[in-house]
Symmetry: C2
Subunit: 130 residues, 2 copies
DNA sequence: ATTAATGCAAATTGTTTGCACGGTC
DNA sequence: GACCGTGCAAACAATTTGCATTAAT
């Protein structure tokens, strides 16, 4: 546990939900130890390996991360208007998913369920794009 | 509709399920007209726009495509052992997904549901990786 | 002639890596 | 003094783009 790694971990801890490696790097740059981008990537990978952080693929070319310690698995609603990310869990969906896998004799390891659309705010006169 | 575009479309039509832009490019290279990689990308994007082809994100850094004309939407089970891709549909899951979205006042546009694990073959003495 | 599509090669983007350097046991 | 982590800059890989050329109307 080096000072750099501690800095990255701290950065992760007060990150706002979902963030990219670069978000984190930029945010860390404002504080002292000035860790390098490479170390951010390397340390994030480390944290993912130790289940402290989860890497989530939100359908863009950039990987997102989120703090994961002790949290439940959840999936995401992703707003095409403002980029907001809403988390959800549904045991019923997971159960059905297990049934589907059984039918196909498929041994499930993990899954990713993303719904893209518009959040409440963006439906009401919000940003018109996407 | 140029000869190049026709060539790409033909390539798509006899593609084996899911393929990457580069798969397609390589495959086309064996036949005559020799379209360029750029044109393959450009044309695929065009076909996606006209709903003839669907772009699917399988969780790797490469985009996959599949012929989509007149097909139902479906989701995927992806084998971590051999890379096999099994398609599935479940109206029950989609219904529950709609309920979840309603609860969050989220207007759904499209979704992506991927399950990673091991296919039947790979469970039986198959490749040990992942 | 104007417009649109192509091919090439260079640019872009997010991420990874080789390697020399610095610190620690 | 062996080892590990770091920073830098170069390497990468998939995709996109600028631009000059070509083809079609």
């Amino acid at each position: 546990m080096t000072p750099e790694r501690r800095a990255v971990l701290n950065g992760v801890l007060d990150a706002p939900g979902h963030f990219t490696a670069d978000d984190l790097y930029i945010r860390l740059k404002r504080r002292d130890p000035m860790v390098s981008r490479a170390t951010v990537y390397r340390t994030l990978e480390l944290l993912v390996g130790s289940r402290l952080v989860e890497k989530v693929d939100l359908g863009v070319q950039q990987a997102y991360y989120e703090y994961f310690f002790g949290r439940e698995h959840h999936d995401h609603l992703i707003c095409l208007g403002c980029g907001a990310i809403i988390e959800f869990t549904s045991q019923a969906i997971e159960d059905l998913q297990n049934v589907v896998c059984q039918e196909h004799h498929f041994e499930i390891r993990y899954h990713s369920h993303k719904v893209f659309g518009r959040c409440r705010k963006c439906q009401q006169g919000g940003s018109p794009d996407a």
